[in-house]
């Protein structure tokens, strides 16, 4: 079965550094998402992306965050200047359409900001 692939699985960085988290969504999917989950807390929406632009974003997704689909397969999340509170598991997800559609999640990138 097709799956969403995320790299790296773990990322350790120093506070203030830039990180890029990478995702390869399922090939025929049109909607892409980033979620994050702080240890022991709920899965939180960050951003949705469709037709090469952001369709929605949460309050968490401030100017330090950006997303990009640089080619036909990759979908990236960039955090420009990481903070301690950005430490979390970041999940990429995709869906065929954006309506009543199930989300396919990747295995996540565990980001640790020191």
């Amino acid at each position: 079965e097709p799956e969403v692939t995320q790299t790296p699985s773990h990322q350790v960085t120093q506070m203030g550094q830039e990180v890029i988290l990478r995702c390869v969504p399922i090939s025929n999917h049109l909607y892409f998402y980033w979620y994050r989950q702080i240890l022991g807390q709920k899965v939180e929406f960050l951003v949705s992306f469709y037709n090469n632009e952001i369709s929605e974003k949460s309050e968490i997704f401030d100017d330090q965050f950006s997303v990009e689909r640089p080619d036909g397969s990759n979908f990236t999340l960039k955090i420009r200047s990481t903070k301690l509170e950005d430490s979390a598991m970041y999940f990429c997800a995709s869906s065929v359409q954006g309506g009543d559609e199930k989300l396919f999640f990747g295995s996540g990138t565990q980001l640790s900001v020191l």
Partner: protein
């Protein structure tokens, strides 16, 4: 704002019994609810979707109900097995016309052999 609430207490049951998990939501009734399974350190995996006009949905040993009067969905696992041990998440769209899905905190289920 829309909320989804799940019993954050862990649920321990004996193998072979039926596990029942609850999801309550506030404000407007979503057109559908989704249930996911999440194992430690892994992404959520979709299990079932139930629409507001469906009272019940089944898939193998899983059953989901949707009560728009009570604003509640129940998720049942019959003949539970230790391999069913995981956290189960309920999800809905934040509002109609949005593609932002919000998740409950999840209920951790442990099936004892």
């Amino acid at each position: 704002s829309q909320k989804i609430e799940q019993n954050s207490e862990a649920l321990n049951i004996q193998e072979g019994k039926t596990a029942t998990l609850t999801c309550n939501y506030t404000n407007y009734s979503p057109a559908y609810l989704q249930w996911y399974r999440q194992d430690p350190g892994r992404g959520p995996v979709f299990l079932l979707l139930i629409r507001e006009n469906e009272k019940e949905k089944r898939k193998e040993r899983l059953k989901v109900t949707f009560d728009t009067t009570l604003k509640q969905s129940l998720f049942h696992i019959t003949a539970s097995q230790p391999a069913d041990s995981a956290t189960y998440l309920c999800a809905r769209r934040a509002t109609s016309g949005t593609y932002k899905y919000i998740f409950g905190t999840g209920t951790r289920l442990k099936v004892l052999a």
